[in-house]
């Protein structure tokens, strides 16, 4: 196991995957990626990342469906998820609006939402605010 925190990035656009990966690697995080929802679920269960960045509009299975599935695995239920999407607005992923969209009272709200386009420094800052610096705390 590496001694830095792992982040899973999920997006169907290779350019964006590359952009986000590069940004976070330069910050010092370990980054793994997935190009679709099914891949994302598989990789998340294998790697148990410290955070998941999730796109919404993806072919075949949308990010929302993917989010629902992720939250149904006990080992992933506590993993923070940051929605990074051109779909919707921050308030869509909070309170009543989120309940309407997700249609399942047992699914918790995501940890954060970032609206595309996003600049690299801002993206890195949001990640840091959610899970702290790349280094794992000693003993954990």
């Amino acid at each position: 196991m590496s001694d830095t925190k792992t982040i899973l990035i999920v997006d169907d656009e290779p350019d964006i995957l590359f952009f986000f990966t590069l940004t976070l690697e330069q910050e010092g995080y370990t980054v793994i990626s997935a190009g679709n929802a099914d891949d994302a679920i598989r990789r998340a269960r294998e790697a148990l990342p410290d955070l998941i960045c999730l796109d919404i509009m993806m072919p075949r299975k949308s990010g929302l469906a993917c989010y629902k599935t992720l939250k149904q695995f006990p080992e992933l239920r506590g993993t923070p998820v940051l929605i990074v999407s051109a779909f919707g607005q921050p308030q869509d992923f909070k309170g009543e609006r989120f309940r309407t969209i997700i249609q399942d009272p047992d699914i918790p709200e995501p940890s954060g939402y970032l609206e595309k386009p996003v600049k690299a420094p801002h993206f890195a800052a949001v990640i840091r605010s959610l899970i702290g610096p790349p280094e794992k705390e000693s003993g954990s």
Binding site: D12, E13, D15, I16, F18, F19, F20, L22, T23, Q26, M57, P59, R60, K61, S62, L64, A65, A86, F87, E115, K116, P117, V118, K119, A120
Partner: protein, 604 residues
């Protein structure tokens, strides 16, 4: 004739001549003497007992009146059935008079029998008549008490009648405590003449009874009115029917007057009998303006009137236009029919349903839908641009990183990201402009099956190359319809190419797209089904919003279905779909011929 002759005649002849049956019986009940009438009727009696002769019995009767007369020494009268020598039974009034000797013994009884069969029959007939007539008959005394009442009366008004204890007629008939003001019985007592009145009473269950009553005086031999007979005829049913008829008529009248549909009714000779308020409102004519059927030609299409009177006897035009008085064309639904009964035609009726409101709502709805589509388009546009901007942002970041680290590969990577996203935005703007400008639909009469044949021709090779089977079932031709064939071609191309893509994205090995075209009940249907990946809930919700693509950002602009929907809406049709994730999808376009755009009047 001398006094003694007379006496002898009385003794010998009267006994035989008197038209009654007289017999003398002894204490043994044996007949010892009888007159000629008796003998003629009952036959030989000598040595026989009375019960044997009268009644053909072997033993004495249970209640023997003769025995009573012997023991109590009193006369008695009874009514008896007796059987004559021929075996016929008659009804007799029988007097029994004991003959008393000086010492008080009663050795004989004289029985005098009078045949009252006739009288009894007549009486019974009267009673039967009295009881069985369907009228209520009562006999009243001067106090208006019911002395006698027939069965019909007792059944309807209750049973406590008869004698001085009888109830007053007003209590029985009306359950009130004093005579009616117009009492015909009191007048009959007063004037001795027949009197009639119409009354409303209450039966024993307190239900209203309407009746016409005739009171006839019954006089005694001195000409005094002692009783009045009231004969009442029940007219409750008639009254009820009258009331119902009146109500039905009022209801009908109100319904016609307040109907939102215009109604016009003409008589058998074409005279206008009814031109209701709504007909006035819709046509602008006053009911007085239109007097005969021919006047309707100013308002209605000629072929409509003609169809009613001369052709099939009825006509329905779901979407017609009439001419109002001011010359304004009014969109309406028309139905008309001739009115027939067993004796033939007795008129004609026309119903007009005003469609102005509906037409207006329809056009408002169309505008609202277009506005909503614009809103969705803008939202979709924003989504597409945000994604491209992210790509550009990424390209810049990667290139800067490369420059900072003097990493040439990374600089190239960044540049290529910038280039591909600039290319995307160019493609995107072109597509968007073509959608925003729209094509003017060019409507002409064309075979709706023709675009479908073009699509099959166009895609069959492409599908085969991708390993997708294209099963097409398209009729050779359909009756011409006013459509935009190029627009329909675009729609079908979108659906079929989407279906092929959906197959390619699925894990199925047997890929098939089914394309069917048919027409039923004036609706032209195009249906495209695939056994591809299908759609989940979120995808279905977003399906017709622009720029939503499931094909990955480099594959589609997401405008296809939106364009398709726009074109179908311009044809007054609708597009529906059915899909479940992993089980393929079916899209269906339905074009109702009645809602297709008007064909151009002249070809440009």
């Amino acid at each position: 004739m001398s006094q003694s002759d007379l006496h002898t005649w009385f003794l010998s002849e009267l006994f035989d001549q008197i038209p009654m049956k007289i017999a003398v019986i002894n204490r043994d009940l044996k007949i010892v003497r009888a007159n000629r009438h008796f003998t003629e009727v009952f036959g030989d009696w000598s040595g026989r007992r009375c019960y044997d002769v009268y009644k053909d019995r072997a033993s004495r009767c249970e209640h023997c009146n003769a025995e009573r007369a012997f023991t109590e020494g009193i006369s008695c009268v009874s009514r008896e059935y007796m059987t004559d020598k021929e075996g016929a039974t008659h009804y007799y009034l029988v007097h029994m008079t004991p003959l008393r000797t000086d010492d008080g013994n009663i050795p004989f009884i004289v029985e005098i029998a009078i045949d009252v069969s006739q009288i009894v029959n007549v009486q019974q007939e009267y009673e039967l008549l009295f009881d069985s007539v369907p009228n209520y008959i009562t006999i009243l005394d001067r106090d208006l008490r019911v002395v006698q009442a027939n069965r019909a009366f007792r059944e309807v008004f209750g049973n406590s009648v008869g004698g001085a204890a009888g109830d007053f007629c007003y209590r029985k008939y009306k359950q009130q405590d004093s005579p009616c003001g117009n009492c015909p019985a009191l007048k009959a007592f007063e004037t001795g003449k027949v009197n009639t009145a119409t009354m409303k009473g209450l039966d024993k269950n307190k239900e209203a009874v309407h009746y016409v009553v005739t009171a006839s005086p019954l006089t005694n031999d001195r000409g005094e009115v002692v009783n009045v007979m009231e004969i009442a005829t029940d007219i409750t049913l008639v009254r009820t029917l009258e009331a119902q008829l009146e109500q039905a008529f009022k209801l009908q009248e109100t319904a016609i007057a307040s109907s939102f549909d215009g109604m016009i009714i003409a008589g058998p000779h074409g005279g206008i009998l009814l031109f209701n308020k709504s007909a006035e409102d819709i046509t602008g004519y006053a009911s007085g303006d239109i007097r005969v059927f021919d006047d309707l030609r100013a308002i209605f299409p000629e072929n409509f009137l003609w169809a009613i009177w001369d052709e099939q006897g009825s006509c329905v035009l779901p979407d017609a236009t009439i001419q109002s008085k001011s010359g304004e064309p009014v969109p309406v639904r028309l139905s008309g029919t001739i009115l027939k009964n067993g004796n033939g035609v007795f008129g004609s009726a026309i119903y007009i349903h005003d469609l102005r409101k509906i037409k207006q709502l329809e056009s408002e709805k169309l505008v609202a839908e277009r506005l909503a589509a614009v809103g969705q388009t803008v939202a979709g546009l924003a989504h597409g641009i945000k994604n491209i901007l992210t790509g550009l942002e990424g390209g810049l970041f990667v290139m800067n990183s490369g420059l900072r680290k003097a990493d040439v590969d990374m600089i190239h990577k960044g540049l290529s990201m910038l280039e591909s996203n600039i290319e995307r935005i160019t493609h995107f703007v072109k597509e968007f402009l073509s959608f925003a400008r729209g094509r003017e639909p060019s409507v002409r009469l064309a075979d709706p099956a023709a675009p479908a044949h073009e699509i099959v021709e166009l895609y069959k090779d492409a599908a085969k190359k991708e390993g997708v089977r294209l099963d097409a079932s398209v009729p050779e031709s359909l009756p011409p319809a006013p459509i935009d064939p190029d627009g329909i071609h675009t729609c079908l191309a979108n659906l079929v190419s989407n279906a092929i893509d959906a197959c390619l994205m699925s894990d199925n090995t047997d890929h098939a797209v089914t394309f069917k075209v048919w027409e039923r009940d004036g609706v032209i249907c195009y249906e495209v089904s695939d056994n591809g990946i299908g759609m989940d809930y979120e995808v279905k919700k977003k399906l017709f919003t622009s720029f939503f693509s499931t094909k990955g950002s480099h594959e589609g602009t997401g405008l296809g279905l939106l364009v398709t929907r726009k074109i179908i809406q311009e044809h007054g049709g609708r597009i529906t779909f059915d899909s479940a994730e992993g089980r393929g999808a079916t899209f269906r376009i339905e074009l109702d011929r009645a809602r297709l755009p008007a064909p151009p009047q002249h070809q440009e």
